[in-house]
């Protein structure tokens, strides 16, 4: 058993069988994460003592005869999720020093399943960004090229798994914040159907879009996490009370009989030649596995970005109002309460967060509500209807997960250029659909020296997570793209050959 490279399934099997212990896994991982993270900066805070405490608890439970689905598996948690006793910052100065007094439901379910918390990972401030660069508290690098961004907003969660600093991680996806960084960091990133996973304890960005999901180095491991965290939570009124079909034991090896939709509006000629070649090969592989490729159309998809950038800021303008210096977090004193608010929020929020609060406040204002927010909601409904129509002709829709591979730091200073990174992921988010990114190859960027990983996005109808994970698993097992790349952080541990797990037969 190798605690750095083995799959979550393999680690849990070994710990449950007591051929290794959770404490051994923790003691191996803690120093490694420290060394690797000095280069990657995936974590805002590592929690070695908490990890040891949980490891001892897991070992005791296993010793008493329990079998835990994630026994002894190291997990990283995006720092917009509360975990009792840990600083929980959302990557923002306004929450620097805030220690959560409670634990998010999804995190609690992971811990209850035997997972070990490695730490809290960096993110674009309040999950607003597509590169990780909007964090006010740290810089996270791409494990496959340290001069490039890891993607965002779940920057650290993608980098930690891609850089072998954790076996699994939790991220949150509002418009692509799991899928885009997963593509950039050569890992699987999975956003379940909106409402499948409780948002309780997830610091809200845009409540009607936010969804927690896993990063993993294999689809099977992502399925394992999904099975643990999905399901109704009485503490989240928007979590769906609907049976969860377990996915981990039901993954498939081929795509025979599966109709895969290629979206006309997502034509590959928008990409550069190298990227285009990667996706053309991916589509051909799907066909080779037995899938029937069908052309589908999402006529309103092109309005996705505009729609998203009204709804998400509108919700965020209200969600972030609570950060006012009164009860917790940063407070900048003022002559009266109004000035205290202004100074606190001026000092505490970064420029992208302020931009979105302003846009959202404007969109909800009296006299503009109908023209902006209400119209965006109508567009959102149309987009969802387009998907529903497309799914009459196919079982899954595939597309690139991001508009390009990971780019260099500071390459996209114009916000709209950055927003365009999520062109492919946003429509599915607006429709609430389950969607994932699975590694599908690599392309050498024009300004690069190493081939950078890319992700294939797969999207299926609402609540069809098991089918979605099955298709992705079949593709992954047949292509093994993730295993063809080695992160630059591998040199740190020259004794260990870093590969993605193969032969995960959960």
């Amino acid at each position: 058993m190798d605690p750095f490279t083995d799959s979550a399934g393999a680690i849990a099997r070994a710990v449950n069988a007591r051929s290794t212990s959770a404490v051994e896994v923790a003691e191996a991982l803690i120093p490694r994460a420290e060394r690797v993270d000095a280069q990657l900066g995936a974590y805002l805070q590592r929690t070695p003592e908490l990890m040891r405490e949980h490891a001892r608890r897991v070992d005791a439970r296993v010793a008493s005869g329990e079998s835990l689905p994630l026994a002894g598996v190291p997990v990283a948690i995006k720092d917009n999720m509360c975990l009792t006793g840990t600083r929980t910052t959302a990557g923002s100065k306004i929450l620097e020093g805030f220690v959560a007094p409670y634990t998010a439901t999804a995190v609690q379910r992971l811990l209850d399943a035997g997972a070990l918390p490695v730490g809290k990972t960096n993110l674009d401030e309040f999950a607003m960004g597509s590169s990780g660069e909007n964090s006010a508290l740290g810089l996270t690098r791409n494990p496959y090229d340290l001069d490039r961004v890891p993607g965002g907003s779940s920057a650290g969660s993608a980098a930690a798994v891609g850089g072998f600093e954790a076996t699994l991680s939790l991220g949150s996806d509002t418009g692509g914040s799991i899928r885009e960084p997963a593509a950039f960091c050569n890992v699987v990133g999975f956003k379940p159907t909106y409402g499948r996973v409780s948002r309780y304890g997830l610091i809200a960005f845009a409540s009607s879009l936010d969804q927690i999901g896993p990063f993993a180095r294999s689809v099977a491991d992502a399925a394992l996490v999904y099975d643990v965290i999905a399901g109704k939570d009485p503490l989240d009124a928007t979590s769906v009370d609907r049976d969860v079909e377990p996915a981990a034991g039901f993954l498939r090896e081929d795509l025979r009989g599966v109709r895969v939709g290629i979206v006309k509006e997502f034509a590959l000629d928008a990409l550069d030649a190298a990227s285009r070649a990667v996706y053309e090969a991916a589509y051909a592989d799907l066909e080779r596995l037995g899938a029937e490729l069908v052309d589908v159309t999402l006529p309103t998809a092109e309005y996705g970005l505009a729609t998203y950038y009204l709804i998400a800021p509108a919700e965020c303008s209200s969600n972030l109002a609570r950060f006012d210096g009164v009860r917790y977090g940063l407070r900048a004193d003022g002559a009266d309460v109004g000035e205290m608010y202004e100074r606190t929020r001026a000092a505490g929020f970064g420029p992208e967060v302020k931009r979105r609060i302003l846009i959202g406040t404007y969109a909800l204002s009296s006299g503009y509500y109908d023209a902006y927010y209400l119209k965006a909601q109508k567009a959102r409904t149309r987009i969802a209807e387009d998907f529903a129509r497309a799914f009459e002709r196919c079982d899954a829709i595939v597309s690139p997960a991001a508009s390009s591979p990971a780019f260099r730091f500071n390459a996209k200073s114009d916000p709209v250029t950055m927003y365009l990174m999520d062109y492919y992921t946003i429509p599915g988010s607006l429709a609430g659909l389950p969607s994932l990114s699975v590694p599908c190859g690599a392309a050498l960027p024009e300004d690069g020296t190493r081939p950078m990983p890319m992700g294939l996005q797969m999207t299926t109808p609402l609540f069809t997570e098991r089918a979605l994970l099955g298709y992705a698993h079949a593709y992954e097992r047949a292509t093994l793209h993730a295993e063809k790349l080695t992160p630059v952080t591998a040199v740190i541990e020259s004794s260990t050959s870093l590969r993605a797990p193969s032969g995960n037969r959960a």
Binding site: A100, R327, L364
Partner: protein, 489 residues
């Protein structure tokens, strides 16, 4: 010109805290008071990541309240966010209801002290959450020159219903009568304790004046900070007088919010319409729309009994009680229930029953501190007593004795009268014999009477009663005395 030239137009909005075990969107206890910030959790403190979950009991209370006033319950309702910054509002938005409230329309029927009846239409009743409470403190702990504020969030998130009335009210007295009926009804339904002193009912009034008979409304002022029914009456009366004075002296009423100053007895301008908030309402994405099925409405409707107004009308119109007594009963639900059972058992002798319930029994209950309905007197015993007095089987003196004994010992009134031999003697021959004895024993008094001192009749009647050990029918005794004194020698 005088105030009879002018007519006031008043619309009331009031906030009523609902009586539930837990707060509106979290599991914290919904209780008044306690050490500051002890009834709080991540949700009602708006900690990062926390989410609201609606309280089903609060929603059911809303339906009860609406149905009691014949409101319409739409099949679909939702929660919206009302955005504004205020330190005692943890999220800096209030979860409220904007365009799809749980209840729409309805009418509040009320009565005034003098028995006049009126009604006021409701616009809507909607559900929202309460805020915390701020206290401003200076370095020396006094409010004057406060340099910091302390906030208690125990009240934050308590379920609150906002009742919005149409501008159908025309006087301060009507406004109070409207509020009293709301309060009575909510208490009766168990949806709220309606304790104004604890702030569980808070009200604002929109007041304007117009020429009597005019169709258009005048410009309104919104009056806030009225903390008792008494201050509602005073504040509205004062505001009406102020507006008349403004207009009659050639001025113009401006649209503004005015605070009631209890000590000074006047309203003060607080803010004008120009400073009004843009609340940026939008549907709360953390909460799903509320489906109210026909089955739910039917189930809640089936739990509703007679409303206080219906009871009042029955007491006055059917039982013939005066407005004051009817109100006294209506305001004490257990007493009214006791009264109704006794009236039924007595075969409808409401007047006789009410005389005891609000008379001797009320006094005994008051003296002992035990509510009548919790005491030893059963409605059936009281019904017997009412029958005994209405049929003149016992006289009022005996009745007093029976009441006292029933209060202390319980049991049957008839059995008691039998046991104690308290039945009134109405037999003409028997009473005449006693009268003869008394007259024979008091020749001087008889002489006085005959000399014109007719006021000795009281003495003689008393002597007859005494001689009969209180059992003689006093009316009959007087009649026989008169007959014998005038007819005799």
């Amino acid at each position: 010109m005088s105030s009879s030239t002018w007519e006031a137009v008043i619309g009331i909005e009031c906030h009523v805290e609902l009586k539930t075990a837990s707060k509106m969107f979290c599991g914290c206890p919904n209780e008044f008071g306690g050490e500051p910030n002890t009834k709080v959790c991540p949700v009602c403190l708006a900690l990062p990541g926390s989410l609201p979950v609606p309280n089903a009991m609060a929603i059911e209370h809303m339906l009860r309240a609406g149905l009691a006033f014949d409101a319409t319950i739409p099949p679909l309702s939702k929660f919206d966010r009302k955005n504004y910054f205020y330190p005692d509002m943890p999220k800096n938005y209030q979860i409220s209801q904007f365009d799809m409230p749980l209840t729409q329309g309805g009418v509040v029927r009320y009565w005034l002290e003098d028995g006049t009846r009126g009604e006021c239409r409701l616009t809507r009743i909607h559900l929202e959450e309460d805020t915390g409470k701020s206290t401003h403190a200076s370095a020396d702990g006094r409010l004057a020159g406060a340099t910091s504020s302390l906030i208690d969030f125990n009240r934050a998130g308590v379920p609150l219903m906002e009742c919005v009335g149409e501008p159908d009210i025309r006087s301060a007295d009507e406004a109070v009568a409207f509020l009293e009926t709301l309060a009575r009804t909510f208490r009766e339904l168990g949806v709220s304790d309606v304790k104004m002193e604890e702030g569980s009912l808070r009200c604002d009034a929109n007041v304007s004046i117009r020429k009597r008979g005019a169709a258009e409304y005048g410009t309104k002022a919104e009056i806030k900070n009225m903390n008792s029914f008494r201050s509602v009456r005073r504040a509205i009366a004062s505001e009406i007088a102020r507006q008349i004075e403004v207009v009659e002296s050639g001025g113009r009423v401006i649209q503004e919010t005015r605070g009631w100053d209890e000590a000074a007895g006047v309203t003060h301008s607080q803010r004008s319409k120009e400073e009004a908030h843009d609340y940026r309402y939008f549907p709360d994405p953390d909460l799903v729309p509320i489906d109210v099925t026909e089955e739910t409405v039917a189930r809640v409707r089936a739990t509703l009994g007679e409303t206080p107004y219906e009871r009042y009308v029955r007491y006055v119109d059917t039982f013939g009680l005066d407005s004051k007594r009817a109100t006294q009963l209506v305001d004490d639900a257990p007493l009214a229930a006791f009264f109704d059972r006794a009236v039924t058992a007595s075969g409808g002798k409401a007047q006789a029953v009410v005389a005891f319930v609000l008379g001797d029994l009320a006094r005994l209950a008051n003296e002992s501190g035990t509510p009548l309905a919790a005491g030893k007197v059963t409605p059936e015993a009281l019904a017997e007593l009412a029958e005994l007095t209405s049929s003149n089987a016992i006289n009022s003196k005996a009745a007093k004795q029976v009441v006292e004994t029933l209060w202390n010992e319980g049991g049957s009134a008839k059995a008691l009268v039998e046991r104690e031999g308290l039945a009134q003697v109405s037999d003409r021959g028997a009473v005449a014999a006693i009268v003869d004895e008394v007259l024979a024993a008091n020749p001087n008094v008889v002489a006085d009477y005959k000399a014109g001192k007719t006021n000795v009749m009281g003495f003689l009647t008393g002597a007859v009663m005494k001689a009969s050990r209180g059992k003689a029918n006093p009316t009959l005794a007087q009649e026989l005395l008169k007959e014998k004194l005038s007819g005799g020698s």
